[in-house]
Amino acid sequence: MHTQSAKLKTHPAEIATLLRGETGTISAWSECWSAQRFALHVSVIVLGAGLYGAGMGWWRDPQQALYVAIKFPLIILLTMTGNALINGMFAPLLGLNIPFRQSFSAILMSFTVAAAILGAFSPLIAFMVWNAPPMSPQAVSGATYSLIKLANVAVIAFAGTTGNVRLFQTLARLGGSKAVAFRVLVAWLAGNLFLGSQLSWILRPFIGSPNLPVEFFRATALHGNFYENVFHSLMQILTSD
């Protein structure tokens, strides 16, 4: 009993437990709601993703760094809350009979893992940007821009994948079946990717462009959507002679 209550006590060091993927403890956390733990996880998301965003935007301008430091955690939090309802419904429909609050808690923890990884990589991204030549039209068309872009993609992909692997392990523990856990994870991932992509489109730019002003939103933020743009790009490639 004492061990159980000690496990459920909130402490900043519990982020290490999340990273290690100690599913027994994580499942216990997801079962009993704690406002303190919720605040801790949201703080890690704001801080981790914010620091990473700052490193990402810094190449263009310090003001861009500030904007991206706000936008990056915002995307995560908005994606999570925007999909909370449908994700909570998908879980029992796909065989994982957990309450809405528990599914929200599990997703929050997976984003916390991703944000903690992003935060840990933020000094590395900042160091890379500090070493890069200033952003100019030449730099954007050269290898430096590609390197920065690829490094960001690699880090974000690693953080996202790790967060989802940990989520899968938790779901498998909660549902007692890997097949059920996989179904639920795929459904949640599809929803989160769908909304997350559009939110990223609205909240662009992130790295920025030397030819465009530093701004929080582009003037065309709400003109069209991510998928329309992808469709237009595909059509251009297919119809060009």
């Binding site: 290490a16 990273l19 290690r20 990589f121 160091f127 500090w130």
Partner: protein, 258 residues
């Protein structure tokens, strides 16, 4: 009667050494590993001869003192090696090179520490942040002690050549050898923390090497001379090394023409 014929003293049974499934003997099994590390000299001796003693002490509650000692040794040793590096150009480089090497080393470690901790946790290791800091400080200390060992050789070469590229390569080779030993210490410490996989650690090693190499470019010139303390132009190490090699090639060709 019993007092007249006492039972022979019992021989304590041999305690088998505890080994993990992976065959790793637990830290502290050997009593010598449990001996405290009271001062800097003992810390240097321990990391060279009994690295497991350092690893064991890093798990104790008062590990902070040992970490501080190891960092102090790292800074002092890197300053000494820096003076040797600075003798190639002389002048301002005699203070600039040590400052840059010590600063670069500490900043590289600070930049890489969060990702090392994250990779440690992701691999399932139970190591606390203090222990990870300690292992990283151990890496720095072992690396810089070895650099001090190479210092006389580096000094002799720096006095007998004028080639910047040659000296740069030599210092890089020494640094690389020292780093391999430092990383070996770190990996051994990592193995004792119940880590399920070393993949994350190996990824971190690549990151650490890239950061350290880039730091030499970010803080250039360390060996040669310049008008400013830090470079005016930002460059990645690959393009900087390319420029250096081109300049050396040009010099060689002009010398051959003469």
């Amino acid at each position: 009667m019993n007092e007249q014929n006492p039972a022979p003293p019992q021989i304590p049974p041999r305690i088998p050494s505890v080994a993990t499934p992976g065959g790793i003997v637990q830290l502290g099994d050997d009593p010598a590993e449990r001996a405290a590390i009271p001062n800097v000299v003992a810390a240097i001796d321990a990391i060279l001869r009994h690295p497991r003693r350092v690893m064991f002490q890093l798990r104790q509650p008062d590990a902070g003192k040992l970490i501080a000692m190891m960092l102090l040794v790292s800074v002092v040793c890197s300053l000494i090696y820096g003076v040797v590096v600075g003798t190639f150009s002389g002048g301002d480089q005699l203070w600039a090179a040590p400052a840059k090497i010590a600063l670069g080393l500490i900043i590289s470690a600070l930049i890489c520490l969060p990702s090392l901790y994250i990779f440690t946790c992701l691999s399932g290791s139970q190591a606390r942040l203090v222990e990870v800091c300690g292992l990283l400080a151990g890496l720095l200390m072992l690396m810089t002690i070895l650099l001090i060992g190479f210092a006389p050789v580096a000094w002799i070469f720096s006095q007998s050549t004028e080639s910047l590229a040659w000296m740069g390569t030599l210092h890089l080779i020494f640094w690389f050898i020292a780093t391999i030993f430092g990383l070996r210490f770190l990996e051994t410490g990592f193995s004792h923390s119940n880590a399920r996989s070393h993949a994350g650690f190996h990824t971190w090693v690549v990151i650490f090497l890239l950061v350290a190499v880039q730091m030499t470019t970010a803080l250039r010139p360390i060996i040669g001379k310049a008008d400013t303390f830090l470079p005016k132009e930002k460059q990645f190490f690959v393009s900087h090394w390319g420029d250096c090699l081109k300049a050396t090639d040009k010099d060689l060709k002009s010398k051959l023409r003469e």
